[in-house]
């Protein structure tokens, strides 16, 4: 038994570059198969004689392998490493095989060979283009609930994996002088040239191996060696250079502004057992001074009846399978072409011992050289003929040939058919770069026209024909001085045809496919034109031509030409759609890369976080912060824990982590002047060592933020902001400082994270802290409410604030953050015997609501003025300027009818209102009722023995004592409008 049988019966001994001894075992739909190391799934399947690999999107037609590259529209399969690592819609022509690879075909049930969905093909006359739009219009609601889900289930290709992806994905930012996309002859020559200048070069290619077309062109000699050998030697040379990075298996998928190009490097998809440190893919975000596009050209198929039968493929693909992988795609291979390049494939196959019965050439008078060469090998060449139809179902079995102008039909038995409609320059990335393509009428192709970025195209993608011309051009573009490279052989990228071949006919039943992946036929495009779609943009959307994941790499030009013919207009007048990223599908994993799990977003913890966690705290997310929410003890639910915490603060004392509050140090001789301009309050006369609650407005007069500000020195203030407002308040202040008040000598520094803040609140607060404090007289007289002192606590520096957000006498101890936990523990130990209780954000919210203290963003919503919030007292009456002063005078802000903050007490004290609930004056109105306000804060207050709430109500302050109503699904709740202070109305406890 020869080794070639191990890796498939269609492997030809001596052909290709794979090593026969290096076998690889894999399964396809459960069938055990063997291929060779270096095989793609496509080449391995073909080696085993398997052409049928999937079913089509709409008609469920049997489909095979069209290409040997990333443009593949048909051969999409499901790859499964394990339950969590499944990937649908993998192109068999891109996926390399590895030992243990498991492959399943898609879009078929119950099996690939017998598929129930194939009835769609039978009923296809009833499923023309635009069918869905016309048929599923009524009733309107059914589109979302019935039609769309059903259609999506019936169509579609692979199945989305059900489990989270366990693969790793990474990211790398890179900069270079020259990024070269494509490592074919043009890209390699450009890289050699650019690298010789010392430039930093990145060369990427989507294939595992460099060479591009050189990998299959059997007739190329460069610098005295075969094209393939030259490519391998050149890559080795480039890899050895310090200034060159060669990335194989790397697709440039997106070309963005300022030469920013996204690449995806596939690192482990081809490996049997990737190491645990090995990411599956790496995203490269490359900023290049110059981009050289050497993306080549993509061969087009011929449009004729049943051109989608498995076994019908591009001529260049057959050549790649033969010359790279040593695989004959059939034993009896027919050829259908409209240009010279398919001849090379036919000749290679024939020379490898494959029967090539006939070359059908649509041209009346092709170049005699290729024709003669084919004929000399014994291949029949029929010029001026067309293939009218391919026979067979799950594999092509025959081709029907007629002269172009009609005549006798001849049927030739075959088991594979190769075709070439010519070459489409790959201008995808050029188009993505916002370059404008230009129509090359002579050769019927779009080429790079006007460039929008520092970018240049070389070789086939630039319409440069001939290998020598390509190498010369690429070398010049690379900028090097080294001698050029001499070459012979290679493909001419000109000639061929676009649009439907004679066999596609005007017939309305023939299925001559233009777009394989979306099942769009020539007649669909004609129908679109008949239905009034006259722009290619409309034709595209009506037929979905070019809208599949392959983005019409093989179909766009054909579709355009058919539409242009039907419209009887020149092709440029019908237009080409713009190409958009990604060039080929990109995984979510690559885009997301590191930003998963713990690294999805930063989780910010306070310096005392570990203590909270150790003491059983439940945490609340506040932006990116984790804040201790409440500390349940054994047997307590949240409600019980919060009640206990609230009562303890009022009766003994509570300890609270306020570290997340924003802090800004405002320093400079004009610091007070600056604060005068940023806050409504007066600051100039605030004494050193005193604090004040400040309100900050936007220019429009609405409350932006609030917080307590302490004056540490004549020229130094410690400003606090809300937790959520910290970054934007800093920006707001910096913005005004730089743009409106640049003359002021003052600077802002964020100190949010410099200080851990331990709030100790309650009647016993001083007694608890005092023993730990050095150098500060904490007596009521020396350090009254709203004062700040600097000294030491537990031997470390502190800024000790006497302030309160609970209504109790209290302190906020600021210590350098790394000392936070130690000081917290010392305070806790000192206070424990006195009943000191840790309390979380929920208790804090309730305690402040009992006192009517607002929370910006909860009791305000960006449309609330200080007057609305009952904070008129915080506006400096004699001030002549501050941000928002003119806004506050706007007529609508001083008019009656504004929503004002009031308290609400439910008539039934046990009922706790829902925050956000709407308030009405008359609950007996028909719906929709006139809503006059809404609840902003609402809690059960254990200290008050009842529910309490705050609300914004139209003309609220005039309604004190009124009864209003809160209609809820279960009935209407009666409430009394009150002031906002529910506990210690006189505020005496603050000074205790």
């Amino acid at each position: 038994m020869s080794t070639s049988i191990h890796s498939g019966s269609n492997r030809i001994a001596g052909a290709g570059r794979l090593t026969p001894a290096k076998t690889v075992r894999f399964t396809f739909d459960g069938q055990n198969l063997t291929g060779l190391e270096g095989d793609t799934l496509a080449s391995a399947l073909l080696a085993n004689g398997i052409h049928l690999v999937g079913r089509s999107f709409k008609y469920h037609r049997p489909r095979g392998i069209l290409s040997a590259g990333s443009e593949e529209p048909n051969a999409l399969v499901d790859i499964e490493r394990d339950k969590s690592r499944k990937q649908p819609n993998v192109r068999a022509t891109v996926q390399e095989i590895y030992d243990g690879l498991k492959v399943k075909s898609q879009n078929r049930w119950p099996s690939l060979t017998f598929d129930v969905g194939a009835v769609n093909d039978v009923f296809s006359p009833m499923l023309p283009a635009g069918f869905y739009y016309k048929t599923f219009m009524w009733p309107k609601f059914a589109w979302k609930t019935i039609y769309e889900p059903k259609i999506r289930a019936a169509a579609g290709l692979g199945v989305v994996p059900g489990e989270p992806d366990t693969d790793r994905y990474t990211n790398r930012f890179a900069h270079c002088d020259v990024l070269i996309v494509g490592a074919g002859a043009a890209g390699l020559a450009a890289a050699l040239s650019a690298a010789s200048t010392g430039a930093k070069v990145i060369l990427c290619d989507e294939q595992p191996e460099a060479g591009g077309a050189l990998r299959y062109e059997s007739d190329v000699t460069i610098d005295g060696v075969s094209g393939h050998e030259w490519a391998a030697a050149t890559v080795a040379k480039l890899r050895a250079m310090d200034n060159v990075t060669v990335l194989s298996r790397t697709t440039a998928f997106g070309y963005y502004a300022q030469n920013f190009v996204g690449l995806v490097e596939r690192i482990s998809d081809h490996l049997s057992n990737p190491g645990s440190d090995m990411p599956r893919e790496r995203l490269w975000q490359v900023r290049a001074k110059k981009v050289i596009l050497a993306t080549g050209a993509i061969e087009r198929h011929m449009v004729f009846a049943n051109n989608d039968r498995p076994g019908v493929m591009l001529a260049s693909a057959a050549r790649m399978f033969l010359n790279q992988y040593g695989v004959a795609i059939g034993r009896k291979v027919g050829v259908y072409t409209s240009n010279d390049s398919a001849y090379a494939a036919a000749i290679d196959l024939k020379r490898a011992g494959v029967d090539v019965p006939v070359i059908v050439d649509t041209r009346d008078d092709p170049s005699s050289a290729v024709v003669n060469e084919a004929r000399s090998l014994g291949i029949e060449v029929l010029t001026g003929h067309a293939v009218y139809s391919a026979g067979g179902k799950r594999r092509v079995s025959s081709m029907s040939i007629q002269p172009n102008r009609g005549g006798n039909e001849r049927k030739v038995a075959i088991d594979a058919l190769i075709m070439s409609g010519g070459w489409t320059p790959s201008v995808h990335l050029f188009s993505q770069s916002r370059g404008k393509v230009a129509w090359d009428a002579e050769n019927e192709r779009f080429l790079p026209g006007t460039y929008a970025q520092d970018c240049v195209s070389v070789g086939a993608c630039n319409g440069t024909d001939g290998l020598q011309a390509t190498l010369d051009e690429a070398f010049a573009v690379g900028g090097g001085n080294a001698k050029s490279i001499s070459a012979t052989g290679g493909t001419d990228w000109v000639g061929g045809m676009i649009g439907s071949a004679p066999g596609a006919g005007a017939d309305t039943t023939v299925k001559a496919f233009v777009d394989f992946q979306n099942d769009v036929t020539a007649k669909d495009v004609r129908l679109a034109v008949r239905e009034g779609m006259h722009s290619i943009e409309h034709v595209k959307r009506f037929t979905t031509n070019g809208m599949a994941t392959d983005q019409g790499k093989t179909s766009n030009l054909h579709g355009l030409a058919i539409a242009a013919e039907a419209l009887n207009r020149p092709i440029p007048a019908v237009g080409l759609t713009t190409f958009r990223a990604p060039f080929t599908p990109v995984t979510f994993g690559a885009i997301v890369n590191h930003a998963r799990h713990d690294l999805f977003d930063p989780t910010r913890c306070t310096p005392m976080h570990a203590w909270h966690a150790a003491h059983g705290a439940a945490f609340e997310d506040v932006g990116q912060w984790k804040r201790a929410w409440y500390y349940p003890q054994a047997g307590e639910d949240m409600h019980a824990a919060v009640n206990r915490e609230c009562v303890a603060v009022r009766n003994q004392a509570g300890i609270f982590d306020a570290s997340t509050l924003g802090k800004i140090e405002v320093v400079g001789p004009d610091a007070a002047k600056f604060l005068e301009l940023l806050y409504t309050n007066p600051w100039e006369k605030l004494g050193v060592g005193r604090c004040r609650y400040g309100i900050m407005l936007r220019e429009d007069g609405f409350i932006y933020d609030d917080g307590v500000v302490g004056r540490l020195a004549e020229d130094r203030f410690h400003v606090t902001t809300t937790t959520g407002g910290a970054p934007r308040v800093m920006h707001h202040m910096e913005d005004y400082l730089q743009t409106e008040f640049p003359h002021l000598n003052v600077w802002l520094t964020s100190t949010t994270e410099q200080w851990a803040v331990i709030a100790v609140q309650g009647p016993k607060a001083r007694e608890i802290i005092a023993p730990l404090v050095e150098g500060i007289d904490m007596s009521n007289e020396a350090m009254p409410h709203m004062s700040v002192r600097e000294g030491k606590i537990c031997g470390v520096p502190t800024r000790l604030f006497r302030m309160s957000f609970t209504g109790e006498a209290g302190y906020e101890i600021n210590v350098p953050a790394d000392y936070g936990q130690a000081v917290w523990e010392a305070v806790y130990a000192s206070g424990r015997p006195l009943g000191l209780t840790p309390y979380g954000t929920e208790a804090m919210h309730i305690l402040r609501a009992e006192k009517g203290y607002i929370i910006v963003g909860q009791d305000t919503d960006g449309t609330v003025t200080p007057q609305d919030a009952g904070l008129t007292w915080a506006i400096g009456k004699n001030k002549t300027d501050y941000v928002g002063i003119r806004g506050l005078l706007r007529r609508d802000l001083v008019a009656d009818g504004r929503k004002q903050l009031v308290g609400l007490k439910t008539v039934d004290p046990k009922i706790v209102l829902e925050e956000g609930a709407q308030i009405v004056a008359n609950p007996n109105q028909p719906v929709p009722m006139t809503m006059i306000g809404h609840v902003t804060s609402s809690y059960w207050s254990e200290n008050c023995g009842r529910s309490i709430a705050m609300a914004l109500v139209i003309d609220g302050t005039k309604r004190l004592g009124e009864t209003l109503y809160v209609p809820m699904p279960n009935g209407v709740i009666e409430v009394e409008v009150t002031g906002t202070v529910f506990f210690d109305e006189k505020g005496e406890r603050l000074n205790g």
Partner: protein, 179 residues
Amino acid sequence: MVEMIQATRLHPLQAGSVSVALADNATRVSLRARSDAIPALSKALGLNLPVKPKSTVANGSRTAMWIGPDEWLIIDGADSSLVADLAKGQVLHSAVDISHRNVGIIVSGKGADRVVNGGCPQDLSLKAFPVGAASRTVFGKIEIVLLRTSENSFRIECWRSFSTYAYGFLQESARDAAV
């Protein structure tokens, strides 16, 4: 006498050839001043405050990094008298102690630039970001100050609560750079 073999330390956070480790405690000051104050402040600090973007000036344990036209980040040993020294300059400035606001992380070893480039979009070639270069920049989703201390070593300064994120990201990136 038997010759003793000297044992060497192996850091637990080795990932490939690049290590990611916490920097020692440090004194840090955010200094703000107008250009006319630079000579006096430089004298007070004992180093010439850098005035070129992306540059630093070091003297002994003290390093001043240019952050903006009127802003420097100055790092010194844990017991430094930075703030007091600046006050001796007797010129208009703002010095704010941020020793505890920031956390320093040292990324070192061959390929450290690749590790940082896992999350930082800056060009870290020696030409664009030479030894001694520093800049306020981004790393993943956070803001950092990046300082190159040698060809293969960087110091990353981030805010305290972002340090677990930065540290975790750098370790992930170090795993990748080793592949």
